[in-house]
C-alpha cells in the first residue's frame, strides 16, 4: 500500500499578516494522521488570485489530497470559490440544498437575507456539495485524476464539523487507507530520557506493526503507541497487550490514558472514591482552581479555594500564624503547610493543596531566589510539603507549579507519601 499524501492550505490575509493564530492546520493533520494519511506540507497564502492558483497547481503536483480552508465568506475579498472555478474551468451554480439551508438559517434568526448571502449557496457545478450544518459557507469536494480537493470554511468549528462528518468518511472510502489504532499513556514527574531508559528493553521488543513516540511537555511525557494493520479489533488487542507489559515498568508515573489531562484524571479518581478537595493558592494565584473548575462536573469534588495573595488573607482567612510568617516568611515549608491545613479545615475537605512562592520575574532574595516555590498537600493526619526551584518565567512558574501541586495530590491519593 503506497502512502497517501496530503497538503493543507489555508487561504486568508489575516493569517499571513499574523492577525489571527492558525489552529486549524494542526487539528487537520492530526485527524489525517489518525486514518494513516501523511501531511507532507502546510501552506498559508493570501486572498490573491495568482497566489491561490499557484498553490493549487503546486499542491496538485505533490499530493493526493489537497485540503483548503478559508476565503469562503460573503464579502468580495473572499475569492476561493471563484478561483476553484478558474482552476477547474468550471462555473458557479446555485445548489438547491445549500440555498434551502441558508434560507432556513436566516429565517430562524429573524434576519433578512441579502443577495450576497444567497450567493453563498453557489458552488462550482462539478463539485460535490458538502452540507455545512454549522454556518452559511459550503463545503466542496472535487475529484480529478485520482486526486481529491476539498474546500472548507476557515471558521474552526465549521471546518471541524465538515472534516468529521463529510471529509474523513469520504477519504476513507475514496482511498485505501490502513487501519490505525492509537493509544496514549500519560505520565508525569519522570523525564523523557529517564523514561526511555526504563522501558528500553520493552521498546526494542515491540512488534513490527507497533510504533512508539515520546511527546514531552511541561513535566509530562505522553507515550503514544500506534499500531497499523487491517483488523481494528486485533490492533486494539495487540496494543493493550503491550500496555500490560509496560505499565509495571513505569507504574507510579502513569496518571491516565489518551485525552485525560491530569486534572481530569484526578477528578475522576476523587469522584470514584467520593473524596473532596480544596486549595490555598498564593503564587499560583487561582490557576489550580481554574484547572479544577474548567472540567465539567468538577463541583462534585472541588469545594473551593482561597487565593491568599496578601499575607493578611493567609492570616485572617486561612488561619496561618502571624509568628510563622514573621519568622520563616510567606515562602516557606511552615507557611505552606499551615495554608494547606487551614484550607482543609475551612472548607471541610478530604484533601487540600497549597502553594506559596516567588513567581517572578522580580522579588527574589539570595536565600529565596525567583522561582522558589513551596507546595503542600494536606489529608487527615498527614501534610506533605515540597520545594521546587524554577527560573524567572512567571507564566511557567504559575503553570508548572500548579501541575506539580496536583501531582502531589495524585500521589497522596494513591498512598504514595515518599516519592
Amino acid at each position: 500500500m503506497r502512502p497517501i499524501l496530503a497538503e493543507v492550505v489555508t487561504i486568508g490575509d489575516e493569517i499571513l499578516y499574523g492577525q489571527i493564530t492558525d489552529t486549524n492546520t494542526q487539528w487537520m493533520s492530526t485527524e489525517l494522521d489518525k486514518i494513516g494519511i501523511k501531511t507532507v506540507r502546510k501552506s498559508s497564502v493570501g486572498d490573491q488570485e495568482d497566489k491561490i492558483l499557484q498553490i493549487l497547481a503546486e499542491a496538485e503536483g505533490r499530493a493526493d489530497i489537497i485540503l483548503l480552508t478559508g476565503g469562503l465568506g460573503p464579502t468580495k475579498d473572499d475569492i476561493t470559490k471563484k478561483m476553484l472555478c478558474k482552476y477547474f474551468d468550471d462555473e458557479l451554480v446555485i445548489n438547491e440544498d445549500a440555498l434551502a439551508f441558508i434560507t432556513d438559517f436566516f429565517t430562524k434568526r429573524g434576519r433578512p437575507m441579502t443577495e450576497l448571502n444567497r450567493l453563498q449557496a453557489a458552488v462550482p457545478s462539478r463539485c460535490t456539495y458538502l452540507a455545512n450544518k454549522t454556518g452559511t459557507a459550503p463545503g466542496m469536494w472535487f475529484e480529478r485524476n485520482g486526486k481529491v480537493f476539498v474546500s472548507m470554511p476557515g471558521v474552526p468549528h465549521e471546518m471541524k464539523y465538515l472534516m468529521a462528518n463529510e471529509v474523513i468518511p469520504r477519504l476513507k472510502t475514496f482511498f485505501e487507507t490502513p487501519i490505525i489504532y492509537h493509544k496514549m499513556i500519560r505520565t508525569i514527574g519522570v523525564g523523557e530520557s529517564f523514561l526511555a531508559e526504563k522501558i528500553e528493553n520493552w521498546e526494542d521488543n515491540l512488534p513490527e506493526h507497533i510504533k512508539l513516540a515520546y511527546l514531552p511537555s511541561f513535566g509530562q511525557v505522553r507515550l503514544r503507541l500506534t499500531a497499523v494493520g487491517t483488523d481494528e479489533e486485533q490492533l486494539r488487542k495487540d496494543v493493550d497487550a503491550e500496555i500490560e507489559k509496560v505499565l509495571p515498568l513505569i507504574g507510579s508515573s502513569v496518571f491516565g490514558f489518551d485525552n485525560d489531562d491530569l486534572e481530569v484524571a484526578i477528578g475522576k479518581e476523587l469522584k470514584k472514591q467520593g473524596l473532596t478537595v480544596s486549595a490555598a493558592e498564593s503564587c499560583t494565584g487561582g490557576y489550580i482552581s481554574h484547572m479544577f473548575t474548567k472540567v465539567p462536573g468538577s463541583s462534585a469534588y472541588f469545594m473551593g479555594s482561597v487565593v491568599s495573595y496578601d499575607n493578611s488573607v493567609k492570616i485572617n482567612v486561612l488561619g496561618v500564624n502571624v509568628e510563622t510568617i514573621a519568622q520563616h516568611g510567606a515562602v516557606s515549608e511552615e507557611t505552606v503547610t499551615q495554608m494547606a491545613d487551614g484550607a482543609r479545615k475551612l472548607m471541610k475537605t478530604d484533601f487540600a493543596i497549597a502553594t506559596s512562592g516567588i513567581a517572578g520575574p522580580d522579588g527574589g532574595t539570595p536565600e529565596k531566589p525567583v522561582g522558589t516555590l513551596w507546595i503542600a498537600c494536606a489529608m487527615e493526619g498527614r501534610t506533605i510539603a515540597r520545594k521546587i526551584q524554577m527560573a524567572n518565567q512567571r507564566d511557567t512558574n504559575i503553570q508548572y507549579g500548579s501541575v506539580v501541586a496536583l501531582n502531589l495530590l495524585r500521589k497522596m491519593m494513591n498512598g504514595d507519601y515518599e516519592s
Copy 2:
C-alpha cells in the same frame, strides 16, 4: 519603493503531523509587518532532505527574505544545517564564538559536553553567525543575489531572541524598509459594527498615509492605526493627532493602548489611585484571580479571592445568607451581591468582584438556562449586579464572564454606574 516580500518556513515533522502547535510563524509575520515587510507565504515541511531543498528553491524564486525555523537540534533527525550547506554548495566549519558560548553553557550547568554538542557550533562557512544567547543552536544569515536567508531554532524563545536582537535590525539595514508606526486603541463592550458607525466620519477623513484596522476578539475590539512614511517623529505626531480626535467619540469604551490587556490597564489604574481589589468567584472558578495575578506586580493591588464553588463556602467563608440561597438560588442577583460584599469585608479591599453562574455544558433549568451568569462589583456604599446570558460553551463562559466582570470594575472605578 517596491514592497519587500518574505516567506516563513518551519521545518520539522512534529509540526507537520500535528504534534505541536506552531505559534512562531504568527509572531514572525507580525514582527515583519511592523517594519513594512509583507509575508507572502508560510509553509511547513518535514525533516526530509528533498522537501527542504525543494522549499528553499521555491521560496527563493518568490521572495526577498526567507526565514527558516527548526531542524537545528543536536540529533541526527535535525538536518537543516546540512541542507543549507548542500543548497549553497558550502561546508560546515566550527565557529569559535559559537563554540566558546556552548562550552560556557555546559560548564555553567555542570553538565558534560558531548561531541554532538560541540558540533552545534559548526555553521556553513559562508554564513554570518548570529549569536543565540538563549540556547545552543546557532542563528545563521546568508546573502545571495540581493536576497536574504535566515535559519533559526524552532524553540519559540530562542527564535524570538534572535529575531529581536539580530534579524530585524539587520533586515532594516539590508533593505530599504519604510518607517511604519503602529498605535493600537483597546476598547471593550461595544461591537465592531457599532463602533464603526460611531467613527465613520473620522475614518473617512483619515489622511492618506494612515490606515485603520478593526481587530475584534472576545467582547473587545482593537483599533489599529498604521502610519507609513519616512519620518518617525512626524508619524507619531500625525497618529496622536488622530487619536485625540477619535477618543471623544468612543471614550468610555477605551481601556488602554497597545499591549495593555484589560487586567493590566485595570491594575495600573488601581495602583495609581492606591486602591485594592478582591474577588469571590463561583462559575469563573479562579480565572479572574488568575487574570489579575498573571500580571507581574499585581500583589500591590490584588489582595486575594475566595473561589466559592460549593454553596457551603459561599455561606461559611463569604457569609452569604443561607436563606438567600434557599430562596433565590446560588445563581441570582441577591447571592452574587452578597458574595461581592462578603469578599470586600473579608479581605478589606476597596473593591470586590463576584461571579455566579451556570458555566455548562449541563446544569441549566428553564428559568436559568446554561450560560446564565450573574456578576457584581462592590465598593464603599454601592454594589452593582448585572446578568449576562451566554450559551453552553464552558470555556467561553468562564473567560468571557471574567472579562465582563473586570469591565464592570473598570467602569465603577471611572465613576460610571449606569452603562
